[in-house]
Subunit: 225 residues, 2 copies
Amino acid sequence: MKAGRHGDAREGMGAGCRADSDRMGLMEPLDRQVGFLLEADRLKTVLRQTTLTDRSRRENSAEHSWHLALMALVLAEHAPPGTDLGRVMAMVVLHDLVEIDAGDLFAYAAPADQARQEQAERTAADRLFALLPPAQASSLRALWEEFEERTTAEAKFARALDRLEPMLINMVTEGGTWAAHGVTADQVLTRVALIEDGSPSLGAYARTMVASAVDRGLLAPPREA
Amino acid sequence: MKAGRHGDAREGMGAGCRADSDRMGLMEPLDRQVGFLLEADRLKTVLRQTTLTDRSRRENSAEHSWHLALMALVLAEHAPPGTDLGRVMAMVVLHDLVEIDAGDLFAYAAPADQARQEQAERTAADRLFALLPPAQASSLRALWEEFEERTTAEAKFARALDRLEPMLINMVTEGGTWAAHGVTADQVLTRVALIEDGSPSLGAYARTMVASAVDRGLLAPPREA
């Protein structure tokens, strides 16, 4: 991934002028980008069900997104050959921004709640990406859609990381959200299939973790054993 | 940035076995990578001086690193032409990991404290990167060193973003750390020079922000005006 054209050196208007400028339709592209970046700060206040590994508090979606970007870098060799890691990192950095408006929904929520969440996230995407200059709004929204649709190698790998991260945390927090919500091994194995689709080796690793979690009593065995 | 070879599909040993396996020298590369990623979780507990934009609490270094990765993506056009954005994102994701052992030092700390911090960060890098498989430990440490040395276009841009982020937050939090620590405009302008070196247009924007912050009373005017 290479940088595009060089932005002209010019004076920005400063964050304090953003609201007035926007009303007058005079906002410069860089002011819009800064406005978007400041709005994005709110992702640091969106809490997930997962805790930190030290169990001191719940994880927020911004630091979770950072963890996925680090995973993309460290686990790169587990992506299919030719996977564009810059795109993977871009997707994981963007993927949860919609939670600023929609909030985080627990992975094992009921289907009706999942459907409502999907609609709320689309509405959030409409609002948030529109803060950016129009061409950039389109290209970054397309990256977010790509992550959601999970058809490209990059999106499949990014989604695999998104599923793997809470599993790793659960393994070192006495079952974490599995134990807290009574999740069973068959529910987790359904999600492991998606990890396998993005990375066979990480999928195999996740499958072994599930077996180990059942052995250690961190995860209830499959309901239909 | 492209993914390297495909990792062989194989069974990982699961997080629960890591400590024993390491003592026996039997750890598989993927187990080492997972061990590193779980250790990295601790960056979420390292607090910076900067607060969130809503001032509800101090920012941690993991979510700060995510914010920089998002800035790299959104402000890409402000990097010099040909800048490899994948490398920039990799650097900002890694850059603060050493704070897991060394803690965060306020940007305007005394020179003696800065020197002590630098040594503590080197010691931390020795320990943390060594958790990874050896070849990967070398390549990721090299990326961290590149960020620190600030000689390549990628490192200069990454460092510019690292300086710009707390300035943006200070602008929308009534002066934030500037006001809390009595920082003056001349001190901030010294740091703006480094932003300009990584990105002339972002440097110009930052310079305008400083002037605006002085006008609004968020920042004390230069001592030698």
